[in-house]
Symmetry: C2
Subunit: 308 residues, 2 copies
């Protein structure tokens, strides 16, 4: 096995949030957005063993950035240690790809430190495997930018299509239950009615057409088709705000509305008439307390600083 | 309603065959191929009512070209009649988009005759609705050429991506039962296991990557994932040759193997080592009698002749 040596001692990166499970793209379609980001500063120390991590927020349990660094070091055969400083800018537990952005940022930063020892495909694979429930739509979007299409899970790999589009995130202020992941995982697995299965194929092609032809209307039309994973998950009760809002948001001019990631945040593709004001009036009418955040499609992780 | 008048009295076109239900693209993905085509010669007669059709083959029941012409005339408000001469080059009942090519050719030719009165989207919609069981993957491929992605069914609409790729068609010599359509329709409708549902999303993205990046390997990888509609349909016994051959053809170097349309023909994307000779040796080994036909991706319907 080839052993790689670092080119830089210290690398810092900015890793954007992402909105995954994009409509019918369960596990396979995500988009990187610039509304929130994590910053990671990684310093290598060849005389040390293990990885220490510190953050501006309380890190509970195993952190994905740390796990990602461990997997990266194993892959490149690096026996030293590292210190990770993580500035979390992405709210956790809201379906905004927070843990994915940390994992993606760590692998990406380390790969820069090691002179791009690994391909972007390897970076995606390691980042995906750093999550407690492996999937690649979040990390691929953060890494590649734009709309990430995951096409392989052995190893995880993806490609992306970039469009300079604007979205809005509607982030409910209600508390997310601690058992969110468990609840949502349990909700999956039921067989999909054949008609729904076919309907989702049309919807994915409609979204694809929107991206290839720069037609947000076509993307929104596909985006509005409720995916089966989302229909099943709705029964958990975690998406009550979403179900209250979706139809009214579309009536008020939104081209597309779907749950962001595992929710409860809502991803909204605006039409010409949609503004924070129109969204706010729908929220008030439906008595939902939420923050409305403008979010442009992001170009993906950026290196901020490198030191030899 | 605007009433259109014909610009040409007579138009003839060449309409290529297509391979639809392409792997996981049930009802939504087809490819136009140049191996076989139909020729249609349509002559308008404003002093006549109704449509007469003649052909080099025995036309049983209602013909899709005639039905397509009826729908077209209704759409443009034309009160005259027409004579259609149909030269069938595409074998029927083999899953090669034979009825779709005739329908597509008729609408396309008439639209040329009427000075492109309708958009290509309208042409696709009318052609799709001319089939006894409406779907648009065959007709969209014949009309647009390349790989057709159907993204809407109300009205039917599609876009296409062209790649200069070569395929092989393996057309079993065994008789197709008369009740093929009925058998196959009955076989559909069962709910899809959740894992399969997710697996197909990865596969479609893999095929998409192949098309966007000109990577036949990635297309073939997705193409090899058996779609659920195909798994259910296999139980009809119509695909026994396919099931015998698929694994061995991949072992012999094929990048992708799937059923063409509703079968029993097989669509094969060759690897560098695949030739008619290597395919023939697999057929012999498995004792399957079939014709092997080279087929390049077609650019779609071409106008052959116009007369004022």
């Amino acid at each position: 096995m080839r052993v790689f040596k670092p080119s830089f001692r210290r690398v810092s990166v900015i890793s954007p949030m992402s909105s995954a499970n994009l409509s019918v793209g369960f596990d396979v379609l995500g988009v990187a957005l610039d509304a929130y980001h994590d910053e990671l500063d990684i310093e290598l120390d060849k005389n040390k063993k293990g990885i220490t991590i510190s953050s501006n927020v309380n890190l509970t349990g195993e952190n994905t950035a740390k796990r990602a660094a461990e997997l990266f070091f194993k892959k490149v055969g690096y026996a030293g240690g590292a210190t990770i400083k993580l500035v979390k800018g992405i709210p956790a537990g809201k379906g905004l790809g927070s843990s994915g952005a940390s994992a993606a940022g760590a692998v990406f930063a380390l790969n820069v430190a090691f002179g791009n020892a690994l391909s972007l495909s390897d970076v995606i694979d390691i980042a995906a495997k750093s999550e407690s429930s492996p999937h690649a739509d979040n990390v691929s979007a953060s890494i590649l930018g734009g709309f990430a299409f995951v096409h392989s899970k052995s190893p995880y790999n993806a490609f992306s299509i970039y469009r300079k589009w604007k979205f809005y995130l509607i982030i409910p202020r209600s508390e997310t239950p601690e058992s969110k992941t468990e609840l949502l995982r349990k909700a999956l697995g039921e067989p999909v009615p054949f008609e729904k299965y076919v309907e989702e194929k049309y919807a994915l092609n409609s979204m694809l057409r929107g991206l290839l032809y720069d037609e947000p209307e076509s993307f929104g039309k596909g985006m509005n088709v409720e995916s089966y994973h989302q229909l099943i998950r709705s029964r958990t009760g975690l998406y009550s705000d979403y179900l209250k809002l979706k139809g009214s948001l579309i009536e008020a001019g939104a081209l597309g509305v779907c749950i962001s990631g595992a929710g409860p945040s809502i991803l909204l593709l605006p039409g010409k008439e949609t503004s924070i004001k129109t969204i706010k009036s729908v929220l008030e009418e439906k008595e939902v307390e939420a923050d409305i955040i403008e979010a442009n499609v992001s170009e993906g992780i950026k290196t901020k600083n490198m030191e030899i």
